[in-house]
């Protein structure tokens, strides 16, 4: 049997006194709570200035490109570019696993969230608190990038500069289209995400890699699979890529061109004959933000050296081994 709880002290006669006692007791316990964990929350002394939480890598990139970084108070963990974003701003966690209280603790006046951010419960609580949330659609095409910039700029109250940036990006895409139209026979490109334990993960259709290969005028050799999936050695031989594209940091993990093309699967591909491996910074290549036209043109230049497309210094740096 459960022993009965200890006898409680009888309540004080006056309700006023009881109330004060209750406040004091509760406050005491809570003071302990607050004292134990010194949680920093920035105060709202900045006044009328906007406090933006950016949820989604491309959104942070656009806000920085628009020079609005001073208004950004929090970013999510996919905000890897520019690199200082996650260092100088508070992290609100992964884009799909936000905490309502965490975001609110930054006292935002605006949350700009990429399509698919969540969980919806957290977003619902944010809306309930009166925090405006701007939704930004996501797709891996040129139009989507241009549209994204305009939507983000409008939400952040910088429609003018955003329009200008969007226009510049659009023109860059148009120029890219023209260059792509002049390309000789298209090459087959295989994007290799990783080669862990001999298992090769490739970028299939509807992946960011698929999007950038299309923009760069290549044919995705792995279009038979959807998303990022492991591919068997035989399927890689069948895919017959003329070029292998990898992210630079993955490639650095012990897979030089010699090693890669020594593997049975890759040794039998057309790419092996010329040791055609392109390594580029993953964020630059797959970010689908304002830098995407440059990234696509740089990749195009590397894929089709005969076309004489100038690779930017940034691209050269990113593509450096």
């Amino acid at each position: 049997m459960l022993p009965s709880p200890q006898h409680l002290p009888s309540p004080a006669p006056r309700s006023q006194r009881r109330r004060r006692l209750a406040v004091a007791a509760l406050a005491g316990a809570l003071a302990l709570a607050a004292g134990g964990f010194a949680v920093s929350a920035q105060d709202n002394s900045a006044g009328a200035s906007a406090r933006i939480v950016a949820v989604g890598g491309a959104i942070t990139e656009v806000l920085y490109a628009l020079g609005l970084q001073d208004k950004v108070v929090g970013v999510d963990t996919t905000s890897q570019w520019p690199p200082e974003a996650l260092k100088e701003k508070k992290s609100v966690g992964y884009v799909r696993a936000l905490s309502a209280e965490g975001v609110l603790s930054l006292r935002p006046t605006l949350v700009i969230a990429v399509e698919g951010a969540g969980p919806p419960d957290a977003l619902a609580l944010l809306r309930e608190s009166g925090t405006p949330i701007a939704d930004v659609p996501e797709a891996f095409t040129a139009d989507a990038v241009v549209n994204k910039i305009a939507v983000i700029g409008k939400a952040a109250g910088a429609a003018g500069p955003a329009q200008a940036l969007a226009e510049r990006v659009r023109e860059a895409f148009v120029a890219l289209d023209a260059q792509r139209a002049r390309l000789p026979a298209r090459k087959r490109v295989l994007f290799v995400l990783s080669t862990q334990n001999g298992r090769t993960m490739v970028g299939g259709r509807n992946s960011t890699a698929d999007g950038i290969i299309a923009l760069a005028g290549g044919i995705n050799a792995a279009a038979a699979v959807e998303g990022y999936k492991p591919m068997t050695d035989e399927a890689i031989i069948n895919a017959a890529p003329d070029y292998i594209v990898m992210m630079r940091h993955t490639a650095a993990h012990g897979s030089s061109a010699d090693e890669l093309f020594a593997a049975p699967a890759f040794s039998q591909t057309p790419a092996a004959k010329t040791k055609a491996l392109i390594r580029m910074d993953g964020l630059y290549l797959l970010g689908f933000g304002p830098r995407t036209p440059d990234a696509a043109r740089d990749l195009m230049g590397l894929l089709y050296p005969e076309a004489g497309i100038a690779v930017s210094d940034a691209g050269k740096a990113y593509a450096a081994p």
């Binding site: 459960l2 200890q6 509760l26 406050a27 964990f37 965490g102 609110l104 603790s105 608190s129 998303g227």
Partner: protein, 370 residues
């Protein structure tokens, strides 16, 4: 034991009485300490969070809600954080923690196996498979229907997946109106492996985003707590809590063995059926609301056994308190260490609980027999 003491030796009887009294006193202390600890954690949970609110302010908001302070306090973000974010969250944590721990203690008693946990009745495997199916295939399957939110479908999917697999397991293990716990144990392992492989297949089919959703779900979180969620979970879990006093005596008798319990007049089959159904319901609801939170169901009951012994009349309610305390405490850590982001709670429960459990094991030398 008492047979060894001769009736003519009053000192022996006194010693035994002293021993019993000492044990009762120690148990009372354990109960009070645990209850106090649980209460303290609940208050801490209300006062601590990424959003800085002065403790006095939290108290005022609570009193305002009770009509004892100016109602103006209820407007604004602070009241929202206290009343609509932290409050449902700590209550959900306490409820889920209590449900998982009671379920663990029940399963260990019923199966007379110290390694039994709530997952044994197939709930976790079934719920996991259904959740994976909802996450990965939900967009495609639900696209044609009016239901647009796979997130709303997820808890329902998990709950029914858990129930269906428990029902299947129960039917497999029941012959001639008698449920064999040994068959259930082994069939549970097989069913778990099957569900695991299908979940793996779904993980293979998933895209990056879905894979991350799956991973986060399998580590549990109280992040999505809301009053709606709480009001959906509470009615399903409460029957388990209410049934505890009625099941305790039967489980004590079952420790002797099924035949022995039957001859003591215990309705063995009915107790088995009731316990399994209640565990399936409450664990299904818990998993649906907070994802998979491992460790609580297996370790909390053992911790309690180490301190008060195996009597289910004490073990079950204390496990509830212990489970609630562990989950609420773990949640405080989960939402503070990386604030304003938060950690999945499953990481924290194991990180806090496992070393503590090992320490107790080393100190006591062996685990209490079931």
């Amino acid at each position: 034991m008492s047979l060894a003491i001769k009736p003519a030796a009053p000192s022996g009887v006194e010693a035994l009485a002293r021993l019993a009294a000492g044990r009762r006193q120690r148990n009372l202390v354990t109960v009070l300490v645990l209850a106090g600890f649980c209460l303290l954690l609940l208050l801490l949970s209300l006062g601590a969070g990424a959003f800085a609110i002065a403790p006095g302010r939290v108290a005022e908001i609570l009193l305002a809600k009770l009509g004892l302070a100016p109602q103006a306090l209820l407007d604004g973000r602070e009241a929202l954080v206290v009343l609509n974010i932290r409050m449902p969250r700590l209550l959900l944590g306490a409820l889920v923690g209590a449900a998982l721990a009671i379920s663990g203690a029940l399963m260990q008693g019923l199966f007379r196996n110290p390694l039994a946990d709530p997952g044994l009745v197939g709930v976790s495997a079934g719920a996991g498979l259904a959740a994976a199916a909802t996450i990965v295939l939900g967009d495609r399957l639900l696209a044609g229907m009016a239901l647009k939110l796979p997130f709303a479908a997820l808890p329902f999917g998990a709950f029914f997946g858990g129930l269906v697999s428990t029902l299947a397991l129960y039917l497999i293990a029941t012959r001639n109106g008698r449920t064999s716990v040994a068959t259930m144990l082994l069939a549970g392992v097989a069913l778990g492996a099957l569900a695991g492989s299908l979940t793996g297949l779904l993980a293979y089919l998933s895209d990056d985003r879905q894979l991350r959703d799956l991973t986060f779900w399998s580590m549990g979180s109280l992040g999505g707590a809301s009053w709606t969620k709480l009001s959906a979970v509470a009615p399903i879990v409460l029957p388990l809590v209410i049934a505890v006093p009625f099941l305790a005596r039967g489980l004590n008798a079952l420790m002797l063995g099924e035949a022995e319990a039957y001859h003591l007049g215990i309705p063995v089959q009915r107790i088995k059926a009731i316990a399994i159904v209640l565990v399936a319901l409450s664990v299904g609801a818990s998993v649906a609301a907070a994802g998979v939170i491992g460790f609580v169901g297996i370790v909390v009951p053992h911790l309690i056994r180490l301190s008060v012994g195996p009597d289910h009349r004490l073990l079950l309610p204390l496990s509830a308190l212990g489970g609630a305390a562990l989950l609420v405490g773990a949640d405080i850590v989960a939402r503070l260490v990386v604030a304003p982001a938060e950690l999945p709670i499953g990481i924290v429960t194991a990180f806090i609980g496992a070393p503590f459990f090992l320490w107790l094991l080393l100190r006591r030398g062996r685990i209490a027999e079931i």
